[in-house]
Subunit: 582 residues, 2 copies
C-alpha cells in the first residue's frame, strides 16, 4: 500500500513521519505524471509544489485555516490530500476532478480560480471578514513568482500589508513564469535567493511584511519549520520558498516552458511532427519578415507566448523586437499605445480569455488616443474549456469601445490582408480575431481596402434569407446556405461581415428589397455582441432577425457538440429556427 | 509685466534666473487659483507641482524630450509653459484649454490622459519605440505617490526597469492620494522621506532603478540639480521628489482632500449649506446603520471617497468597517469577493468611469464565484464630462457578464429596497446603478421581492406604444408618455425595468397583444447595452423596437443639451421617431 493510498484527508497527513511524507511526495508525483500523460494538464508547477503542499497540510488545519492557490496551476497535490485523489490515481475518474481550484468539489477550496494574480486580494478579503467577525484562524495565499508580475497581485500585497492581523503569503519562487520571468521585481527575487533571504533590499519587508526564506523549497522538513514559524502570526507575513519547477521529471526540469502544461502522451510518444501552415505560423512569418526589413515592428505577449507559438527560436530571432511584458495585460496595452504613438509598430498577441484582464487601458490608453496598434485575439470562440478559461466574451468586451476596429477574418488570405493593412495604417487601434482551429485558405489573395470601415463582403447574393456569418463561423454560414437550398429550395444570401464593430448600413438596407429574414452567426456571447447591432439596425423595419451565438453563461468543460446543440449552432437547428419565422 | 507674461514656450523658461523662476512660480499659482475659482478644477496637485514643472522645462527639451503626466491632474503649470497660458490667465479662454493632457492642444502633450497609473507604461512604450528607431532623447514620466497604488503603475515600473536605456520617472510624493494614501508601499515612501532617501530598503532600487531623492520638491534649484543629474541617463532612473500639495494656498495645504479638486467660488464664498437628503446621504445612513447593528458590513472605496461623500467623519464612524484600498479597483473587487465568501457584507462604491479599471475581476473573482457582494455604481449616465471621464460605458461593461445582477433604481425607495435586498441575500453579485442627480422620492416604500430576477414593473398599462425606461431615464419615460398622450391622443404603456441584466419575457410577450412599438431608454451607450437585449427578444416578431441612449463615441465637454439633441433624448424628438414607425 502506498502512502497516498492511506491519505483520505489532511488529518491523515499530520500523522506521517518525514520519511513517509517523502514517500507520499513520490506517490503524488507518480499520480501527477499519470494524469497529465493521460488527459493533459499542468505538469511543472504541480511537480514543484508537492512538498510545500504536504507541509501546508501538516502545519495548518484546512479547511478552518483557509488556503487560496493563485491561478491554481499547482493545485493537484492539494486536491489529492483533500479527498480527491481518485481524480489522479483512477483514470476513469480523472475527468470528475477539474484541474483548478473549485469549491463545488471540496470545502478545502474557497474560490473557482484560473486567472493569475488574484490570490492575495481574495485572501485579504477572507482575512478581513474573519477579523470583522472576531474569528481566529490562518489565511494562507500561495502565489508563484510568475504571478507577481500582474498588477492585481501588487494591489493585493499593498493592501494585505495594511491588515493588522494574520495573513500568510507563500511565494513559490521557481524562477519561472510559464515562460521566463520579465520585470524588475525578479532582480530582487534573485538577490534574495543569492543571499539566502538576507539581502538588505527586500521589497516585501519594504512594504511591511514579516519575511522568511526557505532555500530548499522541496525539503519538507525545512518547509514545516518555516510554516510553523508563521502559523498564527498576528501580522502579515511572507514565506519565500525556492522550489524546482518540474522536480522529479527530468524533461520538465530541463525544459520548464514546454512542460508547464502539456498535452497527453508525452511519456511514451515521439515529438509531434510539424503541423504545416497554421494561423500561428503565418503570424510569426509576418512578424519576422517585418523585422528582417528593418521595420520598427515589435511583437508583444503577456507571459503566454506558447499560445501563439512564440517559441524560444522565434523570440531569439526577433531579439529587441520582442517583449514579453509578464502577466501584465494592462501594461501591455498601454505600452503598445506608447509604442504606436512614437512611430513603432506594435503587434500584441493575447488569448481571448486574458484580454479580459485589461479594459480601461483599451478604452483610455489606446482607443481614446486612437493609437494605431495591432492586437491579435487568439482562441476566441465557444469551446469545451474550463469555466475559468472561456473565450466567448471578447466581442462584447472589445467591440463596444469607441474608435476600436475589431476585425474577424474568415480565412488565411483575409487575415493576412487585415494584418498588413493594420500594420501599415496610422488611424485606428485595430483588433483582429485570429480564427481558432485549422487554417482555411481560399487560395486567392484578398485585395480589400480595409480602410473603408464597416464594409461587409457579399459572398453570395440570394433571396428571402440573408446569413451574416462572422469570422470562424463563416463556414457554418456556408453550411446553413446549403441546407436552406436543400431543405427549402431557395438561394439564400451569404455575407461575410469582417467588421465586428459596426454595421454596413448600405448593405443591410439593400437586403430589405428581397429578404424577410436576416440571421447572424458569431462564435461568442450574443449579449452585447455583434449580432445585436444588426438586430437594432432593423428594429424599425419589418425584417425578422435571429441572432446565433452563445448564451450569457459560464460553462465548465461542456462538450462542444452539446454546446452547439444548446445554442442551436448546427445547420439543422438554425434552418429549423429560420423556418419558424419565414 | 509678470514673468508668466514673458513666457510663450519652454525655451523662454531656459533663459530665466532662479529668482525669475520663483516669480514665475508665483504667477503660475495666481493663475491656477484664478482659473479654478472661476471654472473649477484640480487645485492641490497643480499648486504643488509648479516648481517641478518649471525645472523640468528648464532642464529638458520638450517636445523632443517627452513628458507624460500621470492622470494629468497636475498638468496646468505645464500647459502654461507650453503656449497655453491664455487658458489660465484669460477668463474668456478658460474653456478653450482642458484640464487634462491633450495632444490636440499642443505638441508638448503626447496622450489624452485622465485615468490613473498609466504614465509609466505609456512612457515605456515611447522609450522603446525611440530605441527601436535609434533615436536619442529623454522620456520622462511624472507620477504622484497616490497613483502608485494602481496595479498598472506597478506593471509599468516592473517593465520600465527592464529597459536598458533612458527612462526617467519623477515620483511626485506629496503624501496624499485624493484622500490619504493606503497600502504597504507608503511605509517605504515614508522611510525614504525620513532618511533623506538613504533607507537601505528601497523598492525602486530593489527592482533596478537608479534612485535619487529631493527633500524640498518645491525648491526649483534643488530640482534643477536633480534633473540635470539624470538627464540623458542611459539606465532607468527614479527621481523621488517630496512636494507640498496645495502649496501657496493655505486652506489647500490644511485640507488637502477638500482642495484636491474644487468647484468654483471657493475664494470668496461661505461653506455651502447642507444639501438635504441625497443618494449619497441615504447610502451613508444605510451603511452606518448596519455598522451600529454590529453587522459585518464593510464599505469599500478605491481612492475616491469624495464621489460618495464618504467624508472623514463618515470614515471615522465606520472605523474598521471601512477600507479605502487605494487606486486599486481590481483588488477592490477581488477583496469584496473574499469578504463576501467569508460571510462579511461588502458594499463597494465605484464611479462609473472607474469601474472600467476592473473587468476580469468582476468576471472571474466575483461573478464566476457568485460572491454576494454589493457594488454601487455612481454617476452612470450621459454628461458634459471630459472625454477621459465619461460614465456611459458601465452598462455594456457589466451587464454582459454572466451571474451578475445589475439593477437600475428610478427613485429613493427602489434604491433602498434594492440595497436592503442585495445586502441580505447570498446568491448573486449585485450591482446597483445609483441614480445620478437629485433624489427622487415616491413617498411610498418599495416592497418588491428583488430575488425574483428580471421582473419588470408595469407602471402604466396602455396601448400601441410601450416605453421601457431604465433608472435615471425613468422620468424621461414619463415625459414621453405624456407627450404621446398630448400629441397622438392615446395612452402609452410605461415600464420600469429595474433589471439591466435580463429581459422579462412574460411581460415583453404580453405587450405583443396590443402594442406595435416598444422603445427603450437608457442613460448610457446603446451598443452592447440594455435596449439591444429587448430588440433581440422581438427580432422574430412584428414588434418595432427603437433604442435610445448614447452613441458609441467619446465626447469631450459637450453640453448635455447638445448631446440629448444629438441622441434624440428629448420627449419631442423621441415622439417624432415613434411617429415615423407607427
Amino acid at each position: 500500500m502506498t502512502v497516498l493510498e492511506k491519505i483520505n484527508n489532511p488529518q491523515d497527513v499530520k500523522n506521517l513521519s518525514v520519511a513517509e511524507m517523502n514517500e507520499l511526495a513520490q506517490d503524488i508525483r507518480d499520480a501527477i505524471l499519470n494524469r497529465v500523460n493521460t488527459i493533459g494538464g499542468h505538469l511543472g508547477p504541480d511537480l514543484g509544489i508537492v512538498e510545500a503542499t504536504i507541509a501546508m497540510h501538516y502545519v495548518f488545519d484546512s479547511p478552518k485555516d483557509k488556503f487560496v492557490f493563485d491561478v491554481s496551476h499547482q493545485v493537484y497535490p492539494h486536491k489529492m490530500l483533500t479527498g480527491r485523489k481518485h481524480g489522479f490515481v483512477n483514470p476513469e475518474k480523472f475527468h470528475e476532478i477539474s484541474g483548478y481550484s473549485n469549491p463545488a468539489e471540496s470545502e478545502h477550496d474557497h474560490f473557482v480560480i484560473g486567472h493569475t494574480s488574484t490570490s492575495v486580494s481574495l485572501a485579504t478579503g477572507l482575512a478581513k471578514a474573519r477579523d470583522l467577525k472576531n474569528e481566529n484562524y490562518n489565511v494562507v495565499a500561495l502565489i508563484g513568482d510568475g504571478s507577481l508580475s500582474g498588477g492585481e497581485a501588487y494591489e493585493g500585497f499593498n493592501n494585505a500589508a495594511e491588515l493588522d492581523s494574520n495573513i500568510i503569503i507563500i511565494i513559490n519562487d521557481n524562477e519561472m513564469s510559464i515562460a521566463p520571468n520579465y520585470g524588475g521585481l525578479y532582480k530582487n527575487l534573485a538577490q534574495l535567493r543569492e543571499t539566502n533571504g538576507q539581502a538588505q533590499n527586500n521589497v516585501f519587508k519594504a512594504v511591511g511584511f514579516e519575511y522568511c526564506y526557505v532555500e530548499d523549497g522541496n525539503n519538507v522538513e525545512a518547509l514545516i519549520a518555516a510554516f510553523k514559524e508563521v502559523k498564527d502570526a498576528s501580522k502579515p507575513a511572507v514565506v519565500h520558498i525556492h522550489t524546482l519547477k518540474g522536480k522529479g521529471y527530468e524533461p520538465a526540469v530541463a525544459d520548464k516552458e514546454t512542460y508547464h502544461w502539456h498535452l497527453p502522451g508525452f511519456l511514451n510518444s515521439e515529438k509531434t511532427c510539424d503541423a504545416g501552415e497554421t494561423y500561428t505560423s503565418i503570424t510569426k512569418d509576418f512578424l519576422l519578415n517585418k523585422k528582417y526589413q528593418n521595420e520598427p515592428v515589435i511583437a508583444i505577449t503577456a507571459a503566454t507566448p506558447g499560445v501563439f507559438d512564440f517559441n524560444p527560436e522565434f523570440r531569439e530571432k526577433m531579439g529587441a523586437n520582442y517583449t514579453d511584458v509578464g502577466i501584465a495585460e494592462e501594461h501591455a496595452i498601454a505600452y503598445a499605445s506608447g509604442l504606436a504613438k512614437n512611430g513603432a509598430k506594435p503587434v500584441l498577441a493575447l488569448m481571448s480569455s486574458f484580454v479580459q484582464r485589461t479594459y480601461d487601458q483599451m478604452s483610455q490608453d489606446l482607443a481614446l488616443n486612437n493609437s494605431p496598434a495591432t492586437v491579435l485575439i487568439y482562441w476566441g470562440g465557444i469551446s469545451n474549456a474550463d469555466m475559468t478559461h472561456l473565450c466567448t466574451f471578447d466581442i462584447p468586451l472589445i467591440s463596444n469601445i469607441p474608435n476600436i476596429v475589431y476585425l474577424a477574418p474568415a480565412n488565411k488570405e483575409e487575415y493576412l490582408a487585415m494584418l498588413e493593412w493594420s500594420y501599415a495604417q496610422n488611424e485606428h487601434p485595430v483588433f483582429i480575431r485570429v480564427p481558432a482551429g485549422e487554417l482555411v485558405s481560399t487560395g486567392k489573395a484578398d485585395t480589400t481596402d480595409y480602410s473603408i470601415l464597416n464594409k461587409y463582403k457579399l459572398e453570395h447574393s440570394g433571396e428571402k434569407v440573408a446569413i451574416i456569418a462572422a469570422g470562424s463561423f463563416f463556414a457554418l454560414g456556408e453550411q446553413v446556405r446549403a441546407e436552406i437550398k436543400q431543405q427549402l429550395g431557395f438561394d439564400a444570401t451569404l455575407i461575410n461581415p469582417r467588421y465586428l464593430t459596426g454595421v454596413d448600413k448600405e448593405m443591410l438596407e439593400s437586403l430589405k428589397n428581397n429578404h424577410r429574414v436576416v440571421i447572424t452567426l458569431e462564435d461568442g456571447e450574443i449579449d452585447g455582441g455583434f449580432g445585436e447591432k444588426i438586430t437594432r439596425f432593423y428594429g424599425n423595419s419589418d425584417m425578422k432577425v435571429l441572432n446565433f451565438g452563445s448564451k450569457k453563461e459560464f460553462t465548465d468543460r461542456v462538450p462542444l457538440a452539446e454546446l452547439y446543440n444548446r445554442y442551436h449552432l448546427t445547420k439543422e437547428l438554425i434552418v429549423k429556427d429560420i423556418k419558424e419565422v419565414l
